[in-house]
Symmetry: D2
Subunit: 342 residues, 4 copies
Amino acid sequence: MTKTVSIVGGSGYTGGELLRLLLDHPGVTMRAVTSRSNAGDPIHRKHPNLRGRSDLVFTSPDEVEACDVLFLCMPHGQAATEIDKWAGLADLVIDLSADFRLRSPDAYKDWYGSEHPAPARLAEAAYGLPELERERIAKATLISGVGCNATAMNLALLPLARAGLIDRVIADIKVGSSEAGAEPSASSHHPERSRAVRSYALTGHRHAAEVHQALGEFTLDVSVTAIEMVRGVLCTAHVIPTEPVAMKDLWKLYRGAYANEPFVRLVNERQGLHRLPDPAVLGGSNYADVGFGVDERTGRIVALGAIDNLMKGAAGSAVQSMNVALGLEETTGLTFPGLHPA
Amino acid sequence: MTKTVSIVGGSGYTGGELLRLLLDHPGVTMRAVTSRSNAGDPIHRKHPNLRGRSDLVFTSPDEVEACDVLFLCMPHGQAATEIDKWAGLADLVIDLSADFRLRSPDAYKDWYGSEHPAPARLAEAAYGLPELERERIAKATLISGVGCNATAMNLALLPLARAGLIDRVIADIKVGSSEAGAEPSASSHHPERSRAVRSYALTGHRHAAEVHQALGEFTLDVSVTAIEMVRGVLCTAHVIPTEPVAMKDLWKLYRGAYANEPFVRLVNERQGLHRLPDPAVLGGSNYADVGFGVDERTGRIVALGAIDNLMKGAAGSAVQSMNVALGLEETTGLTFPGLHPA
Amino acid sequence: MTKTVSIVGGSGYTGGELLRLLLDHPGVTMRAVTSRSNAGDPIHRKHPNLRGRSDLVFTSPDEVEACDVLFLCMPHGQAATEIDKWAGLADLVIDLSADFRLRSPDAYKDWYGSEHPAPARLAEAAYGLPELERERIAKATLISGVGCNATAMNLALLPLARAGLIDRVIADIKVGSSEAGAEPSASSHHPERSRAVRSYALTGHRHAAEVHQALGEFTLDVSVTAIEMVRGVLCTAHVIPTEPVAMKDLWKLYRGAYANEPFVRLVNERQGLHRLPDPAVLGGSNYADVGFGVDERTGRIVALGAIDNLMKGAAGSAVQSMNVALGLEETTGLTFPGLHPA
Amino acid sequence: MTKTVSIVGGSGYTGGELLRLLLDHPGVTMRAVTSRSNAGDPIHRKHPNLRGRSDLVFTSPDEVEACDVLFLCMPHGQAATEIDKWAGLADLVIDLSADFRLRSPDAYKDWYGSEHPAPARLAEAAYGLPELERERIAKATLISGVGCNATAMNLALLPLARAGLIDRVIADIKVGSSEAGAEPSASSHHPERSRAVRSYALTGHRHAAEVHQALGEFTLDVSVTAIEMVRGVLCTAHVIPTEPVAMKDLWKLYRGAYANEPFVRLVNERQGLHRLPDPAVLGGSNYADVGFGVDERTGRIVALGAIDNLMKGAAGSAVQSMNVALGLEETTGLTFPGLHPA
């Protein structure tokens, strides 16, 4: 029997991707999708790709009924405040905001600037990246979604961190415009944003906290540049290693880490046009493409991680985590491979 | 039991889309995919989105063995010359070139400038757009792929043509860069092609012949403009009608024509951002979105047809036609709805 | 001695282009540039390309003093209401809104839906396209800016209209995102607008009125499609002629009309990549590139007009008109040729 | 009296920009522009923005006559082989290839893999970035053009290097498609290059040699990522400093270094949309926009340099250097400020 699923806050881009995935997911049945400002509208008003796929209309968040799985896609801060209410409605809550990503209330305060409204829940939540904590997710009743930039960093760096090879990382991250969400703003105005190469977070990006939690302590510098792209993240992680490494060592580490991961692909070719990870071929897919190189002159390792921020960096990992938590085949509903050309 | 399928000429964009669709298609099993110049390479060398999805390598076209369904993706002119050979290898041949689109040898000569090499086959071939000739496709052993621009025109205009409402059509068609295929050229060089608004076929586009064959005779002017886009066609068909029509008449005609079509959606909203067909949300999907309007000052009808040229305009319609010919559910393997935002 | 110039409403895109042109114009001296909401800010806050070019700061429109030439860049409707006040401050007023484009109060009401607030001024204003009414501009004290789409149509069609060759025109116009101005909106949100092919004015575009005023009466259908581009308009005007014409006739007509025009170039090459007008090479320039073709099968003429909407379609023509009105060399300050590649 | 100028190899993008600049330059008169494969064609066949600006046609390089200044835009390696011939034709030769950028024959061999064909000329050549060696340029008879990526790095880092503050630099450089020149290739094919985020030089970029020559020895890691853009370079230089620095120290250093530079602008705003250098507003201009930040958690400095690769990174700096060498006002012919929006 399929599980019943609802989405609170389903008019944004993450909500739209969840809907796309869940409407075709053989293990679940969509119940409600809420949007206070769009209540009463058919979902294709906001998600035009879903026209003809469902008769769902947005409902008020006040009308959500009990279900098996509840996805929360609310503005950062709101889920933490309302978590008791939502947790009372479903066996499994998956929150895609940043509210439950950090296990430590101190880290939360340090990076988000205020006390966490529900600190007791932090220890309870699993971090929804199965590549990091699959077993914890399997038993969880509260799963946190992932930071998109954090995910690109974590998957690029995980094998190096586990091997203790990281002295310092400078993560130079290129992102598309959908990272900023579905609300128009001066910075998203097309004539301004088109072909911009905008250093929007030169220093101090909060996703660094998720990397430290996942991979441990090392000096981590993060800069984020917005480029002409809608979906996609490329993390170029420049790693100063604790000891010299050769390409064959890296191959061994990365193969060891990811051989059994269904959604992580190593991309490191000597021929052709597509030699290294590129988010351009990942739109709509749940893959994380990972690659690496070594600078022979300086010893620097370059570790690359490419994802679709709305998928592996948000809705895709959330559904993957749901699959793990429900005991379903982990790839269920997530098999779209992406498009080429795109 | 699944059917065996091979692709001749699988390194281009249409071949890549066929592979994407067929590798995940529950009714078929991929056998060979050929590419003379890439023989021996894994398919992900050319189709990076398919990395990790298959162990297939390109083989030589000389090695193709008998199978149930054979897709031909060869340069225009080649399939017609070699058709006897390929027809001998498979019960069903689906040719995605222009070689078998026109039923009349005279029309072929008129538009393509030379005698058809296998005129006897022309009458035999079905035109692979189920919305036009589903019954013929169901019985065919040779199916022709469709012209992408022709498909956008045909689906935009079909209800009007059947109602005898068309006096003259001026079809102004906007296309992306993937229409020109996977081979680099001066005109596809990124600094030149990026943001170009290039009137590349001001007059005389060959796809007009496919429209006349499908919809009958009327004055048809076609102009094609290449715009900044990779996938996608939008046909803006300006129709001078034989008699005045009102919006409610158009709704009736279009609903009547397409109510039971699984891949044609009517898009004509009064609210929201997505009021009319836009190829931007169709990438990777097999939908054709159709819309219309009437100019109250002049009586002109504007009929819009939007598709992904590589899908509904090529590989998607080909697989849809295969499904029809094999007696499978018509939407099998074609359920990806497209992405938003993209 | 140079003339003093001020701009009312200088924080938008048209204001920015006027500033770029006028700051380097040898015949004028910039006085004030106003913006109520940005008063006190240096102009490079809004126009980052002008950083280091001027010490000007935005001032309040209430502080504008008398000057020789006053440019008005206000929301449509406002200039007409305030025209007496502004006309009292300068010998020459150039208004870039739509308020004074139509000479006939009836046409204004018909297309803009309300009575004109200052109908007496309509007959007085010159239409600021020197190719249309240079002599009138030379004597004017009130000059209206042009509609960008109207300008692309007018310059594409002028030689045909003068020759009485137009029976009906269907103008299919492709535009960039800067046409909608500098204010963010849902429709300009980058993830939605990027690569959109949006039929935003299927019928009933107001610029048709400017074409009728300039070229006379014929059936004119206009459709506008927003495409991935920031600056630029391409008008593809499909003309059903009153009698058959040949290419050599068109060459004669267009050469006759434009031989002495400094900003109109005929583009109709048989070789190379750049055979027909394309706005991609016109960014920042005041050129209008014009081309044409004839469909031998149907007799249709295709007339093309490409411009930069912010230049020849707004600020460029305004400065050109100012040059004419001030008796300066017409090309002064307007010699930037555009970029390739861009 | 103006100087006579010719260009050898004028059909590419750098040649096109030189033509654009020199045709409007009041201090020079264009003589010949050569292109072996386009000899006899009007220059607008390759440079469509220059249509109507000149009657020049491409000539054979064999026909170049003596002139005052000769610009060489030939494939890397060719100028070094032919330098005696060209130096015999002009008082001043400006070579835009990489052939004369490095003063040391050993460095050349180290980075370019072969012996330099004319090592004696290396010591003689000035490096054509006036911000680095204005006095040397003023006396030179042979000036080398600059590497575009090197220029973005050099101008971002110069104040830090002069202050001895650099321990290690990781330069993460984002580039557009015009960097690869005007020749089509598989990697420049629009469907592949559009929206690509391609790590094309993960390690070992040759422009590092130009940085070491200009700024001295420190550990320098360079990675280059091709993004969706035609013109433009953004260098994000992550600097590990030799000692802690504060923002006010950086302001002092950068102001000190660039206060008198006509083409270097400091961009570091606390408000508005355009706070840091972005190549999007630099197309066609000779400005280098420079900015910086400090990561308070880690001490890292981020130094940013943005240029138009075809201008400040090639033709613009070359003309600026010519102005210096000829004793002209340094900004002559280089005053175009760039466009916004673009």
